[in-house]
């Protein structure tokens, strides 16, 4: 465990020693802030109009501001998270430091978990920044906190899946550009795959909907923790990390 922590800490420090952490957190906060501003402004305009109409349907901050915001955030993550994972293995392979890790008394599992947790910690820091926006809503209004909590749990699980896939693809190549583009392509496909479901038959539709990585997030944003979705994300994470272990091991044989 201390080995996993040592690597996780090294990874996290590495993000902050290079511009990556600042660029990623900054970009995410910027775009998130933009969506937030639009969402809140639109909500206020709607509320004003409703007040003028004297008793329309009640306005709900959770449904009209936070939920769309979280769903939009999932799309930003699609772009941002591959940047976190692109260097995890590629950089170590390019600079030869992988030789240090693989000849130290560590198991592959410890190395992979360390890298995964290091990336997750940076991701958690990214999400933490957005809590400032949410806190403002709580200060000015009375949203429910439970759907917010489940939304963030969902975001963590979905982001974890992106990160695990990113690790796997990074372990394939020495080239960071290849790693970031490969990861982006895979998670993008995970987002748009269920767009095809309207064209597919009833069985095909169900399969495509299940495969889509972002539509499993929707129940979380409604305040529902459905084990179906938790299992989907956790099993994808486990599978991607397992494949990463195989990929690192096969690299040894190929030399």
């Amino acid at each position: 465990m201390s080995n996993v922590l040592a690597i996780a800490q090294k990874e996290l420090k590495g993000y902050f020693a290079s511009p990556i952490a600042y660029v990623v957190i900054g970009l995410f906060a910027l775009v998130f802030g933009f969506f937030y501003y639009i969402g809140v402004a639109y909500f206020i305009e709607q509320s004003m109009r409703m007040m003028g109409m004297q008793g329309g349907p009640t306005q709900n901050v959770n449904e009209q501001v936070i939920r769309p915001l979280i769903l939009n955030a999932s799309v930003i993550l699609l772009f941002v998270l591959p940047m976190i994972t692109m260097r995890t293995y590629s950089e170590e392979k390019r600079s030869g430091t992988i030789e240090l890790l693989l000849t130290s008394p560590l198991t592959d599992f410890q190395i992979i978990m360390g890298k995964f947790l290091g990336a997750m910690a940076l991701y958690a820091a990214m999400l933490a920044v957005t809590l400032v926006h949410i806190a403002v809503l709580f200060a000015l209004g009375t949203p429910e906190w439970k759907p917010v909590a489940t939304s963030y749990l969902g975001l963590l699980l979905m982001g974890g899946t992106f990160i695990a896939i990113g690790l796997l693809i990074s372990s394939f190549t020495k080239n960071q550009i290849v790693a970031v583009m490969g990861t982006f392509a895979v998670v993008l496909l995970g987002w748009i795959i269920n767009w095809a479901s309207t064209l597919a038959g009833p069985t095909g539709r169900e399969i495509l909907d299940y495969l889509g990585m972002t539509n499993h997030l929707e129940d979380f944003t409604r305040g529902i923790i459905d084990t179906k979705h938790v299992i989907y994300y956790v099993s994808l994470i486990t599978f991607a990390l397992f494949l990463t272990a195989r990929s690192v091991d096969s690299e040894r044989w190929r030399g």
Binding site: G14, S95, G96, E99, L100
Partner: protein, 324 residues
């Protein structure tokens, strides 16, 4: 301490290491000598558990590197060809991280990092970023990393590459010191390094071991006959005749004839020291003996001799003194 048995490594159709076997005892410094591409790095990478062999076994401290990798790696310090540094880390942070993943207990960590830095003389760059160091410092930080957990076995892939002459001398001194209680394997293609630091040499070429012996024995073994170089201030014909008459001398060649001074290469029977007789014969005739020295095959010559010939004929003598 280290044992390698019939190690073979193939990369697809290319055989990088072919049936290599050798042993190194505790406290021994083993030199791994060979031209570029001979399979030195591959053998070392197998020993450190970085890659598995296609065939054969490697043991470190009695642990099979493949079966018990954690135990074996705990006993190994490894300096790869390019020092594995993280450019964004300071030297101290880097060594601290290495100490952690090598399982140095928390209480000892600060001390170990400190002693490692002192031994390799890098204390003055402790706060600098690894990426901004000169080649010599990088190499030494890499060496400090290998020493951190005080391993029984040190595997150093070209430890003096990129160092300036002063640093090379310091590093060789350090390696010799380490040889006392560690087993050291170092690879190099610099020959004087081997004769200066190593107790034993493994010469490897095209993936095969061509000789295993001490540097002195290797020199002696390949000599076959004893050859003396003599310089006499007499004409070639006269002195040659006198020298040929000395008992035990088998052949006399004129190497150089310059005015009144002649240089001879005098071969004698193996194991027979004819220097006394040779000098007496010359001096008794009233000539001046300007020089008399045994000609030894330098390690360079041995190396070229062993690595340029076909591997089949490369061992002119049975490797009796070789594989121990």
């Amino acid at each position: 301490m280290i044992e390698v048995q019939h190690l073979t490594k193939r990369y697809g159709p290319v055989t990088a290491v072919d049936d290599v076997s050798f042993k190194a005892e505790r406290g021994e410094i083993l030199g791994f000598l060979g031209p570029n591409g001979a399979g030195k790095t591959t053998t070392m990478r197998i020993l450190t558990g970085y890659m598995p062999p296609s065939e054969g076994k490697a043991f470190v401290g009695g642990f099979d590197v493949q079966e018990k990798p954690i135990e074996a790696k705990r006993r190994t310090g490894y300096l790869p060809e390019t020092p594995p540094l993280y450019p964004d880390m300071t030297v101290r942070d880097y060594l601290d991280f290495c100490a952690r993943i090598k399982g140095v207990p928390r209480a000892e960590r600060v001390n170990r990092v400190k002693t490692s830095m002192e031994r390799t003389r890098i204390t003055d760059v402790a706060r600098r970023h690894c990426g901004k160091l000169s080649k010599g410092y990088r190499q030494r930080v890499g060496l400090a990393q290998a020493l951190l957990h005080n391993p029984e076995v040190l595997i150093l892939d070209e430890p003096t590459a990129g160092l300036d002459p002063k640093q090379i001398i310091e590093t060789r001194k350090l390696i010799k010191e380490l040889g006392g209680d560690h087993t050291v394997i170092l690879s190099t293609h610099i020959l004087p390094e081997v004769s200066q630091t190593c107790n034993r040499v493994v010469i490897i070429n095209k993936g095969r071991v061509v000789a295993v012996d001490s540097p002195d024995n290797l020199t002696a073994r390949l000599r076959g006959t004893e050859t003396m170089l003599m310089q006499v201030d007499a004409s070639g014909a006269d002195a040659g005749a006198v020298l040929r008459a000395v008992p035990g001398v088998s052949q006399v060649r004129v190497a150089e004839n310059r005015e009144a001074v002649t240089s001879f290469e005098v071969e004698s029977e193996t194991g027979r020291d004819v220097r006394r007789e040779l000098s007496a014969a010359i001096v008794n005739r009233g000539w001046g003996l300007l020089e008399l020295r045994p000609m030894r095959m330098s390690l360079e010559e041995i190396f070229l001799h062993l690595t340029t010939e076909d591997t089949a004929t490369a061992s002119p003598e049975p490797p009796a003194g070789g594989a121990q």
